[in-house]
Amino acid sequence: MSTITITGNFNNSNNNTLSLDVFQFGTNGYNFHKRYQSSFTEVFDDLLPDNTYYIEITGSTTGTFDIKIDGDIQNSISKSYSSFFMADFTIKS
């Protein structure tokens, strides 16, 4: 199994909301959905090696939101967002 960790940090704000989806292409693919209102760390340790996973975030904050995706992937991802935002990432475990 492969492991990835998604860390989300909300900075300087109490007005935060985020929806996180991790899913795969196909009929029986991986499907994870969760909503957050504060900083979080989510560990996915049940991912199949050499599989493509899609990560989708939609959220808003009056501060900033920093996301870091790392673990058993080639290049870790670090991005920062503010106000209302949407983003998609494709990773290969």
């Binding site: 940090n9 909300f10 900075n11 300087n12 704000s13 109490n14 007005n15 909301t17 985020l18 929806s19 989806d21 899913f23 795969q24 292409f25 196909g26 009929t27 693919g29 499907n31 959905h33 909503r35 209102q37 504060s38 900083s39 493509t52 899609y54 989708e56 939609t58 959220g59 808003s60 009056t62 501060g63 900033t64 920093d66 670090s78 920062s80 503010s82 106000s83 209302f84 935002f85 949407m86 983003a87 998609d88 494709t90």
Partner: protein, 383 residues
């Protein structure tokens, strides 16, 4: 004393610079960018006038730069001082500390000194200022705002997941699926429905998603968010300050109690106006024998207009019209005066950004027009 004062001001600038450089080594460029973004967001709800009420972190002010009685002030919020003294400079940048120390962001301490015409220090002192009311704190939880944004986020996320899930299970190729996901990535940045792949648009329509109707749900969410920031910018600020200046060259010490109130008048248009009312009461105590203390009362009220905002929606040009009234007690050296005043503020983006407020005052009784120029450096650390 003059040297000590100037050295102190210089030392504070050096401390800021060294701190900034040390921090720079500890964090990567992305984090620097993030913190800069936060400061910009905070400033987007604060006008230059609001920054004068209470700084975000540190402020250096030189009043009447070209006059013969300059006043230099250095102010810092308690939060700024805590950040300055922290061994771990990242301590006060995380969300938990920033929220925990909101009280420290609402109290400001200052040291100041007045120079005489020969640029010698004539008096020095300090003060404290705090918000009695601060409704422009965008970090503070707003339940209605939060509920609305959560509604937008939930619906957009759910609809996209439903539509993408349907497409994913419809038997299309992985290659086509990746094309659809690439269109979604483009849409995330532009919020233009036409940037979405036609199959994704059709699927969203089939589930009656508001994402693809009208200008789109995401566009509505973005507009609602920006509108709320303007509403917050309109909210009132009210501060109370106390300062004491000890005279070196003569025997008169000055104690001041000041109150400032500021509120936005319009939120739904770009023609942003603020109403401002300020008052202070000064007491002059002489150490000379058989001299009774004298006092001065000052009141001013007027309107501040934002003339221009930069690309970060941060005000960088303002014009304030105001009338002022001065009345003295137990002295004849300060005449009672009613004046009409105009202050033009311009934010110079160089050297980290500093305001140049230029004030013109007209005394109708004397028929005299006079002016002075201040400099205000708001030092907001980038990390």
């Amino acid at each position: 004393m003059k040297k000590i004062f100037l050295l102190s001001a210089l030392l504070m600038c050096i401390i800021h610079e060294v701190r900034a450089q040390n921090s720079q080594k500890q964090i990567d460029s992305l984090e620097v960018e993030n913190k800069a973004m936060e400061i910009r967001k905070v400033n987007s709800v604060k006008t230059g006038l609001a920054n004068d009420l209470l700084t975000n972190f540190y402020q250096l002010t030189i009043k009447d730069v070209f006059g013969n009685k300059k006043q230099l002030s250095y102010s810092s919020t308690i939060f700024g001082l805590l950040k300055l003294n922290a061994q771990d400079t990242s301590k006060y940048t995380n969300d938990a500390d920033y929220l925990k120390y909101r009280w420290a962001r609402n109290i400001q301490l200052s040291v100041s000194g007045k120079l005489d015409s020969n640029n010698n220090v004539a008096s020095f002192g300090g003060g404290i200022k705090f918000y009695l009311l601060n409704k422009r704190d965008i970090t503070k939880r707003d339940n209605v705002f939060q509920q609305h944004m959560r509604g937008f986020v939930d619906q957009i996320s759910r609809d996209f997941q439903d539509a993408i899930g349907k497409i994913s299970k419809s038997g299309i190729s992985q290659k086509k699926f990746d094309v659809i996901m690439a269109s979604k990535e483009k849409y995330n940045l532009t919020l233009r429905i036409m940037d979405l792949d036609s199959q994704l648009i059709d699927t969203l329509k089939s589930i009656h998603s508001k994402i693809v109707f009208g200008n789109g749900l995401a566009d509505s969410a973005k507009n609602y968010f920006n509108q709320q920031i303007k509403v917050i910018k309109n909210r009132p600020l009210w501060s109370l300050a106390g300062t004491y200046l000890h005279s070196i060259q003569n025997t008169i010490d000055t104690a001041t109690i000041q109150s400032d109130f500021l509120v936005g008048l319009r939120s739904k248009t770009n023609n942003f106006w603020e109403f401002n009312a300020s008052t202070y009461f000064q007491s002059y105590r002489s150490k000379l024998p058989q001299t009774s203390p004298s006092q001065k009362f000052h009141f001013e009220t007027g309107f501040n207009r934002i003339l221009h905002e930069n690309t970060e929606e941060e005000s960088d040009m303002e014009l304030k019209f105001f009338g002022s009234y001065d009345k003295s007690f137990n002295t004849t050296t300060i005449p009672t005066a009613v004046k009409a005043n105009l202050t033009y503020r311009y934010l110079v983006s160089r050297l980290g950004g500093f305001w140049i407020p230029v004030t013109l005052s007209y005394d109708p009784d004397k028929g005299k027009l006079f002016g002075f120029i201040d400099l205000t450096f708001n030092i907001d650390p980038k990390n």
